[in-house]
């Protein structure tokens, strides 16, 4: 079995399985934790108002704009580029549809009545390049800033690496640069598999927890009467 066959077959199968195991392990583990009882008098009648924090935290606060603007802009740039490449590139869509079909037996079009839209490959390539540039920028910023450098650990750098690699290898595979396409495709798929395996156990798990965490924190703040 060559590397591509491994990456397309058993490699992907085990990576997806580990991803599912890990994500559910973390989520169920968090959901079933016993929360600390708050015996104080609620300061707000409706803690649900605290859900506003989900949106509020997605935008920089004026007071901290000077210090956080770079991170916020680069964060948005990376995520928009990454999601465009991930969800609007036809081969990726075919992969997701195949997974969905294997699990629930129907595809996107059968559920929503319209085909999953996709972008021309050149535009996806542009978005990928933008997201790679943003990732490099945030890495330089992290290393150059003494406080951020001090706060960073292996998880930060490795999570960056496993995010960066699939995008770069995907671009290389698309452009047939630096090697034959089957080799580059195998490397791309293996890098995606590394991302899937690491995902639940590192900081990348924020993709599943970020909005729930803000919701919990927001309702907690609201109950205590804190200003959001």
């Amino acid at each position: 079995m060559d590397w591509l066959a491994f990456a397309r077959g058993p490699g992907m199968k085990w990576a997806v399985a580990i991803f599912v195991i890990g994500v559910l392990w973390r989520l169920i583990g968090i959901l079933l934790l016993r929360g600390k009882k708050d015996l104080s008098e609620p300061r707000s009648r409706s803690a649900w108002k605290g859900l506003r924090l989900i949106g509020l935290r997605s935008w920089p606060r004026k007071e901290f704009l000077g210090g956080t603007a770079f991170g916020e802009i680069m964060g948005y740039t990376f995520h928009i580029g990454f999601f465009a490449a991930l969800f609007f590139y036809l081969p990726h869509i075919l992969f997701f549809e195949d997974v969905a079909k294997g699990v629930i037996g129907v595809n996107f079009k059968q559920i929503f009545g319209v085909a999953w839209p996709y972008l021309p490959s050149g535009i996806v390539y542009f978005f990928s390049a933008v997201s790679v540039a943003a990732l490099i920028a945030v890495l330089i910023h992290r290393v150059a800033d003494p406080v951020k450098r001090l706060l960073s650990n292996f998880d930060d750098y490795f999570s960056w690496f496993v995010t960066f690699t699939p995008i770069v290898t995907g671009m290389l595979a698309y452009s047939h640069f630096a090697g034959p396409y089957p080799t580059l495709l195998a490397v791309h798929l293996l890098s995606v598999e590394l991302l899937l395996v690491w995902f639940p156990f590192g900081k990348l798990m924020h993709a599943f927890t970020i909005f729930a965490a803000r919701a919990v924190q927001g309702t907690d703040f609201e109950r205590k009467g804190a200003s959001l």
Binding site: A17, V20, S121, Y181
Partner: protein
């Protein structure tokens, strides 16, 4: 041995036709155009080598590809370039007379003949699944390889095991290169290989007296150096994101890319998109069907021909269901342990 020039002259091939052939060959072998006269000179002086063609676990498609081409072609010409001393399908002799011809050629041209093999070699159960005159294919290959100058594995079965090796490989089929370790082996895969690629490999050997540059799979780089996708005339549609969704939709009629319909062109190394078939008439993608990837190892076991390359063969609902069950159980166990710790801390307080 007579020279190739003498042989061609005797069979009525004009010098003009021969030079045209050499120019086409030079281009095919990815050599600079200026090399054409040198190729012609070398070929004219080349001795016609003895060729022994062994057919093992095969369907005769490779021989069909070589012989059933429109005439006159370069492919026919190649039959004048070599002395084909043994070939089951093409020779008139049969039985012991045929085997004598092979043994005679092996003895007379010891160390000089080219051994061409099509079909895989069944090695299971002592090689009992393939025999001639009481001898197994394994033994016949071993005998024939001893005096060969080089071995050319014709077709995907000889090159990589092909269909006979497809899972579960009941006969223990193996490729020539799995069994031949002491001679140079050139793989010319394809199901079947393009006729002009087969002749091109032989012509290269005759011209330069050595085997061509090979890739990691033992294939001549001149013919297998690029993927079908690299040179496909539908590639611009791939880049533009224009894909046929079915074999008869508007996209298919407009000649859009067949990636979504399972085309394996991006991972298949072959010369179909450039050399084409039937005297350069067409190739599968031009005919409206995706590439099957037949010149790649184990192409038969790489999933459906009609599923897009991106879909992989990652697993099924049962696998994911089992993974989800394990994940939920692990999460519940982690939470249960955490609660236990909380209780112990509360008690200690």
């Amino acid at each position: 041995m007579t020279t190739l020039g003498d042989s061609l002259l005797a069979s009525g091939i004009s010098r003009r036709a021969f030079l045209k052939f050499c120019t086409a060959l030079t281009s095919l072998m990815a050599l600079p155009p200026g090399m054409a006269p040198a190729v012609a000179q070398a070929l004219a002086k080349a001795k016609r080598p003895s060729v022994i063609w062994l057919s093992f676990q095969e369907c005769t498609g490779c021989t069909e590809s070589l012989t059933r081409t429109s005439s006159p072609t370069l492919e026919n010409l190649i039959l004048d370039m070599v002395s084909l001393d043994y070939h089951h399908t093409l020779q008139a002799a049969a039985g012991f007379a045929a085997e004598e011809a092979r043994e005679h050629a092996m003895k007379e041209f010891d160390g000089k003949y080219l051994l061409l093999v099509d079909g895989s070699i069944p090695t299971g159960d002592g090689g009992i699944y393939g025999t001639w005159g009481g001898e197994s294919f394994v033994d016949i290959l071993e005998q024939s390889v001893k005096g060969a100058a080089a071995v050319v594995a014709i077709g995907s079965c000889a090159s990589f095991g092909g269909l006979p090796k497809a899972n579960p490989n009941p006969t223990g089929a193996r490729a020539v290169s799995d069994l031949v370790k002491n001679k140079p082996v050139i793989n010319v895969p394809g199901c079947p290989p393009i006729a002009v690629v087969m002749t091109g490999v032989l012509a290269h050997y005759l011209t330069f007296g050595r085997i061509p540059e090979l890739d990691a799979q033992g294939r001549p780089v001149a013919f297998y150096g690029e993927t079908i996708h690299d040179r496909c005339y539908r590639r611009p549609f791939y880049d533009q994101g224009k894909f046929a969704k079915t074999f008869d939709d508007e996209g298919a009629r407009s000649g859009w890319c067949l990636y979504e319909l399972g085309c394996k062109g991006p991972i298949t190394h072959n010369a179909c998109a450039t050399v084409k078939w039937n005297a350069g008439t067409s190739f599968p993608i031009q005919s409206g069907h995706g590439c099957l990837g037949c010149s790649e190892p184990d192409f038969w076991d790489k999933g459906s021909f009609y599923k897009a390359l991106a879909t992989t063969s990652w697993g099924d609902a049962a696998t994911l269901g089992a993974a989800a069950a394990v994940g939920v159980a692990a999460g519940a166990a982690a939470a249960w342990m955490a609660r236990g710790r909380q209780d112990r801390i509360a008690k200690e307080k």
